[in-house]
Structures are given as C-alpha cells and as structure tokens.
C-alpha cells in the first residue's frame, strides 16, 4: 500500500483486494459484543471535514475507534478562504498535534493531494470536490462482492455494473469507474449528455444515454444523487423529466435480471433518482453499504497505519 489513499486510480489490484479481504476479517469484530481491537492504540486520526458530511465522518470515526485510535474531529465550515486560514496552516496545525492519519473531506478537487505535501501522516481522501471518494468505491466493491457470494481473494470479474446519473460532478462515480474496472467488472455509465464529462473516451467503461436499454444487462445498478444545485442550472429541463428518464422506479426495477442489486451512496433523493419502493426493496443494499463502510474504513486505517507487520 502507498502511504496515502487519495485516488482509487492509484491502487493496484493487489492493494484493492488486500483492503477488501482485510475488511472482511475486521467485519467480524462488529459481530462481537465488544467491538474493539487494540491495533491502533496510541495513534491519532484526525477527521478534517471542510464540508458537512455527517455520515462519512461518523463512519470514519467509528472505524478509528473500533481500532482504538484517538480521534480528533476538526470540522471547518466553508472553504479555507472563508474562514481566513489557509489549508496549509491547518495542515501545519495538525502536524503539530501529531496526527498519524488525516481523513480529509474538501469541496476542492485535489485538496488531499496538496495536504499530502504538507503533513507527514497518511492522508485519506474522504471525498474531494468532483474528483474522488476512494473509500466509497472500496465499500461499494466490498458490498458487491459480498452480495454475489464471492469471498476472500476474489475479484468482480464478469459482473456488469451500471452507474446512473450525475457523473460529471460525482466523485463517487470517478472512484468507482477506476476501482470496479480494476477489479474486473464491466462498468457502464448512463446519464443525460449534460451530466457526462465532455471527453471520457479513455475511461475504462462504456457510456450511453438510455437507462432502459442498460438495465437488462446490469447485475448492479448504482444510482447517483442529483444535487439540488444542478436542478436549476439547465442540466435537464425539470426534476420530473430527469426522474422519468433516469430515475429508478418499480417498473424499471422489473427490467433487471433476477439477482441484480440496487446501490446508492446516499444521501438519497427519494422520488427523484430512486423511488422509495426501490430504495426499500430487498434488492437494495443501501443500509448494508453503510455498515460495510465502517469495515472498509477500518481496513484502510489498519493497512495505512498498522501495516502488515502488525497483522502477523
């Protein structure tokens, strides 16, 4: 493993499988009455959140605490410019506190790259702008692997994953494209043309505009959230039209193969990109994704901070 986890595109297949396999081991801790391992005792993990994201922050916090790390939550509302302190000064502050790992969420793509140049500890990207959210992709891969009955050491070869929605602004989509492809899945993107980057011919996936055509060929459908701010910016004529063309409702659910699953990184807009009945159906893995998030983040912290030596 590298010292940092900034981009799913930086992972080797071996690294990615190591994270998933480690997560599988660590998931068993959650079944114990005392959900705690001593592995990272005395290590400090800082959750540095420049954007509100309670779900991601508590997931990392739970992961670090289950490994007995000390956790410092450092929430900074707004951009570094708005608060008058630069990202660099924040980094130097964390450095002085002796952070062994900095989990960073930032609205600016590339902020974790910059941070990694200023701190000695490991930087874990918890979502940067439209760029990447690698632990989300890892937990999605973990969820898919589990649902399709594949175990330790196994990848996702042959599985067809369709990612639907606002790819242009989605860090989840980017991380998943690189990671799921790396693990052998066939990735398809479906979106209105306005919500796709202008030049993605070199991405390792197929691209189409037609959800109905894609569904019968999908083992996994991953619905992306439509952000409120896109709704009035001419990316599509109206929320209703978006929902009609790209929303996953019960009729569309029936077009999926029998074993297919439905994923969503959350938080959902019920009735927009996903119908409530679909979100709550047995095919939905949405709650499972949350639980898996903790295991995968434990694995990432463990591997970056504890290292393999500690495991043996």
């Amino acid at each position: 493993m590298n010292r940092h986890l900034i981009s799913a595109a930086d992972l080797s297949k071996r690294d990615a499988l190591l994270v998933l396999d480690t997560a599988e081991e660590l998931a068993r801790v959650a079944d114990r009455p005392i959900k705690k391992l001593p592995t990272l005792r005395g290590r400090t993990v800082v959750n540095l959140f420049f954007e509100d994201s309670t779900r991601t922050r508590i997931s990392f916090e739970a992961a670090a605490k289950r490994l007995s790390a000390d956790v410092i939550n450092f929430a900074v509302k707004g951009s570094s410019v708005a608060k008058g302190e630069s990202l660099k000064d924040t980094a130097l502050t964390l450095e002085a506190m002796g952070a062994d790992a900095v989990v960073v969420r930032h609205s600016a793509s590339g902020a974790p790259h910059r941070l990694a140049g200023w701190v000695r500890g490991s930087v874990i990207n918890a979502g940067d702008g439209w760029h990447e959210h690698p632990t989300q992709a890892l937990l999605d891969a973990f969820t898919i692997r589990g649902r399709f009955g594949r175990g330790s050491g196994e990848a996702l070869d042959g599985l067809r994953v369709t990612i639907v929605g606002d790819v242009l602004h989605s860090r989840v989509a980017r991380s998943n494209v690189w990671l799921l492809h790396l693990l052998g899945a066939e990735v398809a993107l479906v979106a209105p043309p306005t919500l796709l980057p202008i030049a993605i011919d070199d991405w390792p996936c197929s691209v189409s505009y037609d959800l109905d055509a894609a569904l019968p060929k999908s083992d996994v459908v991953m619905m992306l959230r439509i952000q409120q701010e896109r709704m009035n910016a001419a990316y599509f004529p109206s929320v209703r039209e978006y929902s009609r063309r790209y929303g996953l409702d019960t009729a569309r659910l029936r077009q999926l193969p029998d074993e297919a699953i439905v994923m969503h990184p959350g938080p959902m807009n019920r009735g927009v990109e996903i119908a409530a009945e679909v979100a709550d159906s047995p095919r939905s893995t949405i709650v499972e994704q949350v639980a898996n998030g903790v295991s995968v983040r434990m694995a990432v912290l463990y591997l970056l901070l504890g290292g393999l030596e500690a495991a043996q």
Partner: protein, 430 residues
C-alpha cells in the same frame, strides 16, 4: 568616453555570421569591423546571438496596488534580464489604469526605474467593470501616449461595448487587446475542458469560450474597420479563426505566450497551482497549432503574460489559487526550445515575433527596429548553447510562480542594452 558607446565583438546578428556591432552614443553606427572606434567599451561576444531588444505586449507589473507581488522596479529588472527593452504594463492594477493620471504614473515610474521602457496599457472600461468606456482620449493624449487598451483579466463581453471601443480608438490609431473568454461558458472554470478535467474533477474552461469571442470580435473589427489584437491565444480553433480573419485582410493581430507554446494540461494532474493560468494550459494538439501559427505568421508575436503572485496565492488548494505564471525571465529560452530548436523559427524570425511585431502592434517608436546603423541601440546578446535548470529563487521578479521551475531550458541572456546603456551584463543586472 560615454557609457552608451560599445564595440560588441564577434556577435552573430540574428544568428548570422560573426560581425562587430558598433554603438555610438546610444545608436547603432556600424555592423561589420568595429575594431577602431575610440572611447568605446569592448565586449567579446563570440558565439552569442544578437537580437533587437525584445518587446513584451503583455506584462503585469502589479504596481500600483500589489507591490507584494511585483513592483515596476522588480518587474522591469526581470524584463531586462529576459532580454526585453520594452514592456506593456497591463491595466488591471489597483487602482485600475483607466485614467490619464494612473497611466502617466506607471509610465513615469518605468522611466525612473530605467531597466526598460514601460508603455502602459489603458483599460477599456472603467474599473474593468465592463459597463462604461474609460476615457481613451485622455490616456492617448497623456504623457504615456496610450495606444493599446485592454481589460485583460476580464473579457469585454458586451458586444455593443466592444464595437464602440473598436470604433472609438480609430480616432488616434489605437488597438483593443481582447482577453477572449465568454463569461457564462467559463463560470467557475479551473482548467482546460477535456480528458484531463474529466479525470481530475475540475470545472472545465472550454476552447469554444475563447473561440466564440475571437470570432465575434474579428467580425466586429471588420465591420467597423478597426484594429483588434487577441491576447494569449491558446487553442487550435482560435488559430484557425485568426488565420481566416487575416485571409480576409482584416486588421487582426494575435499573441501567444511562452507557456502555451510549451506546456500542456496534463501537468494539472499534480494539482499544483503553479500550473493554474488563464487561459488554461491546453492539449498537445493546441500547442502544435500555436507553434505552427506562430511560425506561419498567423500569430504575430510572443507575449509573456507575466503574472506574478505572492507565495500564499499559490500555496493553496487548486480552486482558490490565483491564475497566472511569471514569464519574463524565461521567455526567450522557452521560445528557443519550442520554436528554434524544433526548426520552426529562425533567429531572424524570433526577432520579428518578439521585437518588431509587438513594437508595431503597440505603436511604439524607437523599439523593435532592425539591427542596423541608425537604429537605437536596443539589443540583447544571447547564448543559445547554454542550458540551465530554472530556479525561481534566483529570479529578479518579486514572485516565484514560474511553471518552469526545475525544468532545464536552453539558452541564456548574457547582455541587454537599452539605447546603448547596458541594463544586463554577464547575465546579471548591470
């Protein structure tokens, strides 16, 4: 003996065979055998190329207002070290150079610094606000004799305002230098829109936002019969449009920056804002088209768009970092690498693109003249065989945001003369 009389021995004028260049009281008096002149200082220039003093159409000197980034003193010294004898100071200072008073002040500070001539550019609109024309006539008639007007940094997006500006400056042979950027297409834009922006998740600055404005303004310039200059052309499509406009005989000129002739948008993958610039670094295909356009004359000249910024404006996350790169001290070296060493331009053509043409577009007198008896002795001696790694810490510019830092570039400016006075000798301030 005067300090403006020299015999430069064995230099290669415009890259041709060795000759002695005799300078008497600030004027070139002979090119040939100059051994006998009395009272002149001699310089051994064997192996060095002599070019007319370079002229930059596009420099941000930052004074008044941002003296933490650059001053007229430091910026013009950087210019001299880069081989320039004249620079056009862009209007986006604080206060904006939109009055006769501010432009005269900049002009006078330039004269006082003395490292090179400073020709102020006037703003097109008051405060660069894009709504009301600045007083062109007053600036034109001031001591600064302003002829180039630009809102550089912002586009004159309003078509009617642009038309009026183009028309109005005809009265005193002015030119409007447009920063071509359609504002709605580039809201929040961070880098070239293409494969790299898609991967990096940064908001795209599409080529069409530049090209659409250039096309519109070429048509407007033709319609009113005025002179249009396009700043920092960055895309292959822009080169095509300008080539077409020129084929019609329209009065359109254009510049390209050294960084757009050498660097591409894949450098942004580091998220290091030293590569953040407006217009953004484009693709290899755009770089090739710019080089071709500069070689065939579609693009008239090289202009640096030297844009100094203090450290804290660049030591940030990409999205909040300032746009801009320094360039005065590396321009000629970059042109050597991109254009001369590739066989696209001869040294005589470099002199045309970096001295004669920009001086003509800027309506400068006494600059950009040929290396010939009777011309003011504005010249640069350049060693094309040298090569060194760029170290911004050693630059005279007050700022350090060079995208070429750490990169080995060919060539070295050895000496610069401004009307016979050495501003640079042995590669150092004279």
């Amino acid at each position: 003996m005067t300090d403006t009389s020299w015999v430069i021995k064995g230099a290669r004028p415009l890259g041709a065979g060795p000759a002695d260049i005799t300078i008497t009281d600030g004027t070139i008096t002979a090119i040939g055998d100059g051994a006998g002149q009395r009272g002149a200082q001699a310089i051994d220039a064997a192996g060095l190329i002599a070019l007319p003093g370079l002229v930059d159409l596009h420099t941000h000197l930052r004074e008044p207002g941002r003296e933490d980034a650059e001053t007229i003193e430091t910026g013009t010294l950087a210019a001299a070290l880069g081989g320039f004898t004249a620079v056009h100071a862009m209007a986006n200072t604080d206060p904006v150079a939109d009055t006769a008073g501010v432009t005269e002040q900049i002009w006078r500070l330039g004269r006082a610094a003395g490292h090179c001539d400073v020709q102020p550019v006037g703003a097109v609109t008051v405060g660069l606000g894009g709504s009301r024309l600045a007083e062109f006539g007053a600036m034109a008639e001031s001591a600064a004799r302003v002829r180039v007007f630009s809102d550089d940094g912002s586009c004159v997006a309003d078509a009617v305002l642009m038309r009026r500006a183009l028309e109005y400056v005809k009265a005193f042979d002015g030119v409007i230098a447009q920063h071509a950027q359609e504002p709605r297409l580039t809201e929040g834009a961070q880098m070239n829109e293409g494969a790299a922006s898609g991967r990096l998740g940064l908001a795209g600055w599409p080529a069409v936002a530049e090209e659409a404005i250039i096309a519109r303004d070429c048509l407007l310039a033709a319609h009113v019969g005025s002179a249009l200059h396009i700043c920092h052309v960055s895309t292959a499509g822009s080169v095509e449009i300008i080539r077409w406009a020129k084929s019609k005989g329209w009065r359109v000129t254009a510049e390209a920056t050294p960084h757009h002739l050498l660097l591409t948008d894949d450098l942004v993958a580091s998220y290091d804002p030293v590569y953040k610039v407006n217009p953004p670094l484009r693709t290899a295909a755009d770089v090739a088209a710019l080089r071709e356009g500069l070689a065939d004359g579609t693009i008239d000249c090289v202009a640096t768009d030297h844009a100094p910024h203090p450290v804290e404006a660049k030591e940030t996350e990409w999205a909040v970092a300032a746009f801009g790169m320094t360039g005065l001290e590396t321009a000629l070296c970059v042109v050597q690498e991109a254009m001369v060493d590739t066989g696209l331009l001869s040294w005589a053509e470099v002199a045309d693109r970096m001295s004669a043409r920009p001086a003509a577009i800027g309506r400068l007198s006494g600059q950009g003249e040929p290396l010939a008896p009777g011309s003011p002795a504005n010249l640069v001696l350049y060693d094309p065989a040298a090569s060194s790694a760029v170290d911004p810490a050693g630059h005279a510019s007050r700022s350090r945001n060079s995208p070429f830092a750490g990169r080995t570039l060919p060539g070295q400016v050895v000496a610069t003369f401004l009307r016979g006075r050495a501003t640079v000798l042995d590669g150092k301030p004279a």
